[in-house]
Symmetry: C2
């Protein structure tokens, strides 16, 4: 029985964070997966378009800190679901302006509502103080 050190996985921050992230994501993930057949990256991209309006893939990459291939695939998937439309920019044809379709906006509103409800449910496990501090701590760790 190795008592090599007093280190304990159960207190290892990356481990705890991963565990909490997994558990907390599962229910909401299941929601958009079963209701709209969407993946996490698709939800994130849809969210950014819904929240901030028309933008290019590059802008989404920067804002969401996502790699361009992830965004590219998510955009293609959302397009094939008719949740967004693209239009090549006139003055720079490398850019594609992305915008949600009415259908995409409906999905956005529904997911936003659902997300808010999930967040409330999670928050209720913690005191108001804990809630505030938790978000602060996570921000520090994620270097936001």
């Amino acid at each position: 029985m190795s008592e090599t050190s007093d280190f304990d996985l159960k207190n290892f921050l990356p481990y705890l964070l991963n565990l909490a992230a997994e558990v907390s994501s599962l229910e909401f993930q299941t929601y958009y997966k079963t209701h709209y057949g969407m993946l996490r990256m698709e939800w994130r991209v849809l969210f950014h378009l819904g929240q901030y309006g028309q933008m290019t893939a590059k802008q989404i990459c920067d804002r969401a800190r996502l790699h361009k291939t992830k965004v590219s695939r998510a955009v293609a998937a959302l397009e094939s679901k008719r949740y967004l439309k693209r239009s090549v920019s006139d003055h720079d044809r490398r850019h594609e302006d992305l915008a949600l379709t009415p259908a995409g906006q409906r999905v956005f509103r529904d997911l936003t509502t659902a997300a808010a409800a999930f967040d409330d449910k999670l928050s209720q496990k913690l005191t108001p103080d804990e809630n505030a501090m938790l978000r602060t701590c996570l921000g520090k760790i994620a270097k936001l």
Copy 2:
């Protein structure tokens, strides 16, 4: 632009948790990947064996909350690296008792040391109060 609700991704707990988990894991992950060619699941399994001594794959599944296919593949990988040995149990030949080899124990000690140092580094971004509360909160969320 859509002011559908006051919901903001930047405060959505699952999102923040995933972000913090990703960022905080990256450096350590790089360490055991480059030094020992190990995957996250392998590190977790190795850790459990190092910390708790000999156990079966099933016990690891339960303790680490991992699916059996993940553990099965991690065990196979660790075995091929000669970091663990398996021995079929006598009184129930479905069970395999797993234990680290001396080489595996050396790796365990090294990774444990590295993890502890890395955890310290992360902890320094937070006050002692925040540290304690953060771990409490994460525990609540992960239903530990």
